[in-house]
Symmetry: C2
């Protein structure tokens, strides 16, 4: 780069340097916002045209929110900043040597690069899991799960065999982390408040939500007091929690545990592992645990100060010697730091190592209950729940989305209802088949 | 039936007679609500689990409303009436002799039957139209069209060839009825208000909306004064209207008109014909124009007083000698009349012939403009638009849906924005392919 902030191009004209950001999640957007104040051109590449607010994804999966209410068009963010642009595309690899981002179409040149493609479900190479369980990592998966849950109840209505009917109404969630726990609470309430009224001919006692956790507690990252509170709350909602229980295999009819016991279940949700986005496997770089790409404390690749990797994709150890957790907070803070470090290196000032300020954790477990361990405050119950509501609304992008979510929450809260219990057939090819014939055995994702 | 309102069954037990209603549209639901007050068991069969409020479908297609805001779960309606039940199933035919509804699964016996399966797009047997144009008859089609429109703009950004870029941004709507006109107005506003800001690198003058109508006017069913008002309003929005223009063929790149002229267009919407739902073709009954099933003035099949056909599926001539129009009002009123006539025949009182009370017509053409010819009032402009808003909110089922729609309308109105411009990839298999590679020629529905 030249000293005046421009780059020389082959044709002799000077132009502003271009920073390409791969991914429009929490990390990518925070990087873009930071770069908006610098004399650079920013191009965000993403494979959807929206930013997904994943902390509320479990509410989409349980018919509490429309998918659109937690999706915000990237262009609506981008258009506020004249130097930030967007391109809808799937990145297939990077040519680090020639400084180009490879896509299914054109190759896009960059001067600086920030990789923030996020994470995907980790099935640990188990094909059966991938085929027979539902993931909870993007909009399509959440909507597929919503369709599946509602369809299983529709099928149960037309099923005379009591054992088969119970299996259709059994939902197993593998993984007792925040995703598993929030999903379990929301499903339990969907079944007891809403589906009880929708399906008077079914015995709602047959509807089971089972959380399976290999470790010795749910919400392992929370303080012991809050874990106990969450466990009690789950029990009160009728959720069965099986600790010290590892899944051996899933075959579409049942879950077989490592101790040999079995559970017939029409729906199995895999919330027991995430790994770096597939792009991390196509970079030709070393990979740490869960496929994450090791970076320097300044967040760039060891030998490439112009290429940063942040968020779930990046592997960096904190002061405790463990890798930073794959959570939104880390991604947001790294997005800002990576952008600043890139700008620092171009202006000849030293980069700063990443330092994480952990604001804390929180998780809801149904109506008026949550565990809250953030900003130095520990709380449970109603207070924690209100704190959770408030913080999620604050972080949710966009006035309209906030209003929609608030309206839905108010509606759900006061009516004990869920308005979004719509089976949107074509969104899930499995559903389109299955919707036709209650009472008949048919081919579908599970069962 | 026995005189006490029960039916005798083969095993000697008496039971309440069962009325099966096929379809949860305006007709089917009005029939169900009427029957809820009688000592009968009502079973509604529908191939989706929701009632779609189709008068607002064009707003889903133009990113103004979430699909879920115009979909209302049938079970939420049904659960208010203890004698009404619902089954999610696709009806494949009727065994009139044995009085059974045939589905992909079980055969469902009935004592009385009301067929209200509605209508579908009429391509008049033209395969090319079916493959290369978008329909506007259900949620999936509207959502596919929304995805398509947004994707075409994303593609245009990455397209260097000016002619190709203009083609990508050209939207042809075939049919100048209410659907075509409302869609054209909403697209024109989406392009000029929203996409102009989202795609600053595109010349919005390249974005064309062309309405093609074979007849000599748009909105042919409206009084001449209102037609003129609508035409002027469309012109003001920049919509091109081509009258006396018939489409000869569509091949995915262009529309060829019968006079030999051509128009390169990335998206063609077919709003030029509807016909009775496919079920009407599988009944073994005579069919009138557009596949509709002729019924007696009392709305039942000529030789089967226990089988009624209503709404878009039914053919009955009004006092003017023409078939009743395929609109929601006719379906609703026929639903009530069919239910009453079935009950009358079972209690031995005479059926009444259907008599239609035409409340009128209305259509919006963008912001603060509509044509309104209803309840004896003719109006245009702001007054008509407010009337349109009010009546659509009143008829929209469910408090939550009303609130969501109102909130979206307020947001769209005051911000000139459309929040729902989300490309939901998996809902449309064509989109999932196309989303990957801007700037590259690829296989998709049109183009």
């Amino acid at each position: 780069m030249n000293t005046d902030g421009t780059h020389s191009t082959g044709d002799g004209r000077d132009r502003r340097p271009r920073v390409v950001i791969v991914g429009a999640g929490f990390g990518g957007l925070h990087a873009a916002r930071t770069l908006a104040d610098y004399p650079v051109d920013v191009l965000i590449l993403n494979r959807t045209n929206y930013h997904g607010f994943w902390p509320l994804l479990y509410q989409v999966a349980t018919a509490g929110l429309e998918p659109e209410s937690i999706a915000y068009p990237v262009r609506a963010i981008v258009r506020r900043h004249p130097n930030v642009d967007f391109r809808l595309t799937e990145v297939t690899g990077i040519d680090f040597q020639r400084r180009r981002v490879l896509t299914a179409g054109e190759a896009i040149p960059y001067d600086g690069l920030i990789l923030a493609a996020g994470s995907t479900t980790n099935y640990f190479g188990n094909q059966d899991l991938e085929v027979h369980t539902f993931g909870m990592k993007d909009m399509d998966e959440a909507e597929a799960l919503r369709n599946q849950a509602l369809l299983r109840f529709e099928e149960a209505v037309g099923t005379a065999d009591a054992r088969r009917r119970r299996a259709l109404m059994t939902f197993v969630i593998v993984g007792g982390g925040p995703t598993g726990v929030e999903l379990a609470g929301a499903f339990a309430e969907l079944f007891s408040h809403v589906l009880r009224r929708d399906y008077p001919s079914l015995d709602v006692a047959d509807a089971r939500v089972v959380v399976v956790e290999a470790g010795d507690t749910v919400l392992a990252t929370f303080p012991p007091k809050l874990r106990d509170s969450a466990a009690k709350r789950l029990a009160k909602l009728g959720v069965e929690v099986r600790l010290h229980t590892a899944v051996d295999r899933v075959d579409g009819q049942q879950v077989v545990f490592r101790d040999g016991s079995r559970l017939e279940a029409g729906t199995v949700i895999w919330a027991a592992g995430v790994k770096a986005a597939e792009l991390a496997d196509h970079l030709g770089l070393p990979q740490a645990r869960a496929g994450r790409v090791p970076v320097t404390p300044e967040l760039h690749l060891p030998d490439r100060p112009e290429v940063f990797v942040i968020g779930d994709m990046a592997y960096l150890e904190g002061p405790d010697g463990k890798g930073y957790p794959m959570v939104a907070q880390v991604a947001m803070q790294q997005g800002v730091q990576a952008a600043k470090n890139l700008m620092a290196s171009w202006s000849g000032t030293p980069m700063k190592p990443f330092s994480y300020f952990d604001k804390g954790n929180m998780a809801t477990i149904g109506r008026r209950a949550a565990v809250f361990d953030a900003f130095g405050v520990q709380a449970t119950g109603l207070i924690a729940w209100l704190g959770w509501l408030f913080i999620h609304l604050i972080y949710l992008v966009g006035f309209r989305n906030r209003m929609l979510v608030l309206l839905n929450w108010a509606y759900n809260y006061f009516t004990y209802d869920r308005g979004v219990r719509i089976i949107s057939s074509t969104r899930n090819p499995h559903v389109a088949q299955a919707a036709c014939a209650p009472g008949e055995e048919r081919q579908s994702r599970v069962g």
